[in-house]
Symmetry: none
Subunit: 240 residues, 2 copies
């Protein structure tokens, strides 16, 4: 394993390693071949030819072809995130969720071959994991507002599954049968499944959540009386 001569990632654009530059060039031509001629068009020979090197060079940079495709998926994903990044909207986290879902779906519709590469076959890939983690981050803001109907991990899975089904189904339909109402219906179904209409907490911050929980604590039966007694004490401290 060679040492990265640019560990901090400073000046990544101009000062990147030659190795990193050729990697980028190869990934770019691979994405181009992918979107132009489908997955079967991405052969080691075609990629090497379009990038101006010999096929064995790919194996030194990506290990094998699967590594190349993984790098392609990862790069396409990060490029999408960088281009369409939306700032947090503390005013309306539900609107933020809608916008984020729309952006993810639009990315799939705009890059069908890349999307099929990333989410076509069901495998636990890095891209899949990172996508869920980024979702979890935003879901936390929903939870903090008391707007979450389900657990955070489950919410991320629901959001991902509806978007994935939306993109793949849309792309499977012949053009005249594609109706934007499908996307709208799936998005709103996702919103209903994930969020709740009336927030569970009114006041912001940990104190508000603690007071809301303390008020509803008698309804539960998953904690023993002793646990509940100690929890109540902590909630009182948090409420102050």
């Amino acid at each position: 394993m060679p040492v990265d001569p640019n560990p901090a990632g400073l000046a990544a654009e101009p000062g990147a390693t030659a190795r990193e530059q050729t990697r980028r060039r190869i990934i770019d031509v691979a994405i181009d071949l992918l979107e132009r001629g489908g997955r079967d068009a991405v052969t080691t020979r075609a990629v090497a030819d379009a990038a101006g090197l010999q096929p064995p060079a790919l194996y030194r940079l990506f290990g094998d072809k699967e590594g190349l495709l993984e790098a392609v998926a990862e790069h396409g994903f990060t490029r999408f995130l960088a281009a369409k990044h939306i700032g947090p909207d503390p005013q309306d986290p539900i609107r933020e969720l809608r916008v984020g879902w729309d952006i993810a779906v639009e990315f799939g519709l705009a890059n069908p071959a890349l999307y099929a590469l990333m989410y076509g076959e069901p495998r636990f890939t890095t891209v899949f994991r990172i996508g869920l983690e980024l979702l979890t981050e935003r879901i936390r803001r929903l939870a903090a507002a008391g707007l979450l109907r389900v657990e955070e991990d489950l919410a991320a899975q629901i959001i991902h599954a509806t978007a994935r089904g939306a993109v793949l189904t849309w792309l499977s339909l012949p053009e005249p049968q594609r109706d934007p109402a499908l996307l709208h219906a799936l998005r709103e179904a996702m919103i209903t499944a994930v969020t709740t209409q009336d927030p569970a907490v009114q006041e912001q911050g940990p104190a508000g959540a603690a007071r809301a929980l303390r008020a509803r604590l008698p309804d539960q039966d998953v904690l023993s009386p002793a646990e509940q007694r100690l929890l109540t004490e902590w909630l009182d401290r948090l409420s102050a």
Copy 2:
């Protein structure tokens, strides 16, 4: 185009053409190879070898490899329909919809490689079209009962998309992260989007407030790290 010597499909099992019998044998071994070793294990040589012929024989029967895979997908689909066919339930078409969705999802979870072959890549295939048509048939009964919220075609697309997202997402998750609540949530989201039935609003209880407090826990400093750790565990239990 040769004339089908058995157009009525009578006595399909014993009286089938020799051609039809070898086709079935080849499809069976192809399905076996598919579920055992994934899509890459289905090579013309491996299939021919397992079926006791030489590779060129496949081309007389299926045209090319894509034709073979298409026949595999189609056969797996019809076999699934024959095995799990459910009769119409005029008493409760919404329950019929739930059962049908569950069956479709279970089929995907039970035959992951076959499902990925049928619905992994977004293409307008015969299997996709027939699946939607069969759905439309049942949706008509919902419409007749006045329970449909959207157009029939759109309803079929919503049902398909939620099931597709459910299966692929479920199969993408590592085993410990697979929660049946995902399937339940997606199914009920589908019901809400497709039918006029009001969503069964379950009483929130302390779960929402617990999730809100858990999301805001890092913001506080009145609890010690040890207290916070135990509190997090309790909040997770309350959130479920």
